[in-house]
């Protein structure tokens, strides 16, 4: 299979879906001539024209709400929120409108809209350009939350998202863009709600998402040398969340570490641990979480490195469950 970057896999999915379905359009800040803040949309504006690849003013409420209105009226917009950190200027259109209008109308309309956004720290981009925040959207009803970790997943999940008749939020970790992996040339879909066991193992289950899958993989590689066998489960979507696969893995290993770059409290780590323990799975050690503390992301490298989860913190947590 050809190797492609995560960024290219997304670009390819967008391009193929735009070819397939003329109602797919792209909107956002600098998704056109700039090629996207991170270069993901590249030359799509040249291929499909500026009617279908629309640069917007800095008016997120208008173009996200506009995307919802367009989705309810026959278009299939893929809207870009440049950084998830900016969600606060448009949250009402996201969670009260796009997410709920179908229900409130008794199912009269649908919202085939995808909201792509970028997440993640490590770029010294400080408190308003480094967050993850997907737990906020998984908390409220009416939103499907997609968190790919590999180029293969990125393409398949994005195509599913675009073809889905519901409102989907699709989170791209900025550190993943240059990562390469095998990606088929033809379009394919990956169903929502199906976790992927990214690595099999017997001693400890690590549930990790997005870029943290890669940090967990490194940790597992190193621990393998120490004789600890780690299984890594990547949920791929947080809403719906594939509890069965996670539980099955923990039933096998008896140990659970959840790794998440989002803030630690009231988020994904607590949810995933609870999904397991409420099923009554027998644990050999208390479950652990490795996540970002409830601290605004600091700018200085020494400070940012202190708070972000990474391979070493994951290793430490895994080892603690083995004591």
């Amino acid at each position: 299979m050809p190797k492609k970057t995560f960024s290219y896999a997304i670009y390819e999915a967008l391009k193929q879906e735009m070819v397939r379905d003329p109602t797919v359009i792209i909107m956002g800040e600098d998704v056109g001539r700039f090629g996207g803040c991170f270069g993901v949309t590249r030359d799509l504006w040249k291929i499909f024209g500026e009617e279908r690849v629309r640069d917007t003013p800095i008016s997120e409420s208008a173009f996200i709400g506009g995307g919802a209105g367009a989705a309810a009226s026959g278009l299939r917009p893929v809207v870009e929120l440049m950084f998830v950190d900016f969600f606060g200027v448009a949250m009402d259109q996201i969670y009260n409108q796009a997410a709920k209008l179908r229900y409130m109308s008794g199912g009269q309309c649908k919202f085939p809209m995808v909201l792509r956004t970028t997440i993640g720290g490590g770029f010294r981009a400080a408190a308003q350009h480094s967050q993850v925040l997907y737990a906020l959207f998984a908390h409220v009803p009416g939103i499907k939350v997609v968190v790919p970790s590999t180029p293969y997943d990125a393409k398949g999940l994005l195509i599913t998202a675009i073809r889905d008749d519901d409102f989907v939020m699709y989170f791209e970790h900025k550190k993943l863009y240059p990562i390469e992996g095998e990606v088929p040339d033809e379009p394919y879909t990956i169903p929502f709600g199906v976790a992927d066991v990214k690595r099999e193992g017997d001693d400890v289950t690590v549930v990790a998402m997005a870029y943290m899958v890669h940090e967990a993989m490194k940790a597992a590689d190193e621990l393998a040398k120490e004789g600890i066998s780690v299984e890594i489960v990547d949920p791929r979507t947080l809403a719906p969340l594939d509890t069965d696969t996670i539980v099955k893995s923990v039933e096998k290993t008896g140990r659970l570490v959840v790794v998440d770059e989002d803030y630690i409290y009231f988020g994904a780590t607590g949810e995933i641990i609870t999904r397991v323990v409420e099923r009554g799975v027998a644990l050999k050690a208390p479950p652990k979480r490795v996540a970002t503390p409830r601290v605004p992301i600091p700018f200085s490298p020494t400070l940012e490195d202190e708070i972000l989860p990474n391979k070493d913190k994951i290793k430490k947590a895994i080892k603690e469950t083995m004591k």
């Binding site: 629309r54 003013p57 709400g65 278009l75 409108q97 229900y103 199912g107 008749d165 719906p240």
Partner: protein, 346 residues
């Protein structure tokens, strides 16, 4: 502060077909009677939740919809019964909705603040002030890109015009040349907050009276009109809709009206001068329009009486329909969230 400059009407009643004039009258009346009964039912405990009545503002809904084609769309507000009726929605299904019945237009899931009928282009009332501006703008984008030819009228209140969404949406439509009209129903209050000072009350929610002037901020036409005259509304909307449909030029229409009742049913309006309510009732658009129809010889007393009887009957039937309908099965709470149901988890 600017003085209100209300646009001079150019169309005379004689230039409008009689059926349209009678349609407007009947529409206003249908709304009025529906709302009056709603007030009674609310007081009697038959309508759960929040209810915001449109009494006194009927000329707007009637005037707007008189200027629209069936395929044109609107976005509406928490005070949306009048928009729904004028756009052609079923009174019975709306009444059933507001009673929380399964036969309601939204199967009882939305209620008064969320009534919607996509089949007639009523894209939804909204519980969030100002949320409709972007949504309607997006619907206009779909019209343009898919070549569907419809225009969207985003209707919302004077209060909604202070939300940031107004600014963003109008600017977007202006640069993208979308077929949309931004219609501000200025009923002089946003809940308890006056649009501009009242006797003994210096508060105001804006520093200009003529919100039509805001068109200048976006390079589009804007106008302030008498919102209690359905013909003035019809005229302004007709012009704006044509510009929007043919040239993709959006407009702002600011219509002056007033709220005869409280913000919501049950509001004792302690914040409001009594004279203000009285003054508002004097401006009632329905007797005024009725008088005009008679005086201009457009309709006879008998014709209007007949309309009035038809309306009474329709409203009574709507209530009957609502009352007879069952409540939804509790398990219905879990459906209609996603189009791709069943969803693995709620």
């Amino acid at each position: 502060m600017t003085e209100v400059v209300v646009k001079e009407k150019k169309i005379t009643p004689e230039e409008i077909p009689k059926e349209k004039l009678l349609w407007m009258y009947k529409t206003m009346l249908r709304i009025r009677r529906y709302e009056e009964k709603t007030a009674e039912l609310f007081a009697a405990g038959e309508l759960p939740g929040f209810i915001h009545l449109y009494i006194g503002e009927e000329a707007i809904a009637a005037g707007i919809m008189a200027a629209l084609r069936p395929e044109d769309k609107i976005t509406s507000t928490h005070r949306g019964h009048g928009h729904m009726i004028a756009k052609g929605g079923s009174m019975a299904k709306m009444m059933a909705e507001n009673m929380g019945k399964v036969t309601g237009i939204c199967k009882g899931k939305g209620g008064s603040m969320h009534i919607a009928d996509f089949s007639i282009g009523e894209l939804g009332a909204n519980g969030i002030i100002g949320a409709g501006w972007p949504l309607g703008t997006g619907a206009a984008l779909a019209s343009k890109l898919l070549g569907l030819g419809y225009v969207v009228v985003c209707i919302a209140g004077d209060g909604a015009a202070e939300q940031g969404t107004f600014h963003e949406a109008v600017n977007l439509a202006s640069i993208w040349k979308l077929p949309v009209v931004y219609f501000i129903e200025d009923n002089e209050y946003g809940m308890g907050m006056p649009s501009w000072p009242k006797p003994g009350d210096p508060r105001k929610s804006k520093n200009i009276k003529n919100l039509g002037d805001r068109g200048i901020a976006y390079g589009i036409p804007g106008v302030t009109i008498d919102g209690n005259d359905p013909i003035a509304v019809y005229e302004a909307v007709k012009a704006a809709v044509e510009r929007a449909r043919i040239e993709g030029i959006p407009s702002i229409i600011h219509a002056l009206t007033c709220r005869q009742r409280g913000h919501f049913e049950g509001d004792p309006q302690l914040y409001r001068p009594k004279e203000d309510v009285e003054a508002c009732k004097k401006r009632d658009p329905i007797p005024r329009f009725r008088k005009l129809l008679i005086e201009k010889g457009i309709a006879t007393e008998e014709e209007l009486k007949k309309i009035e009887e038809e309306v009474e009957k329709e409203v009574a039937e709507a209530i009957e329909f609502g009352r007879k309908s069952p409540f939804p099965d509790p398990k219905e709470a879990y459906t209609d969230i996603y189009a791709s149901e069943p969803f693995p988890e709620v």
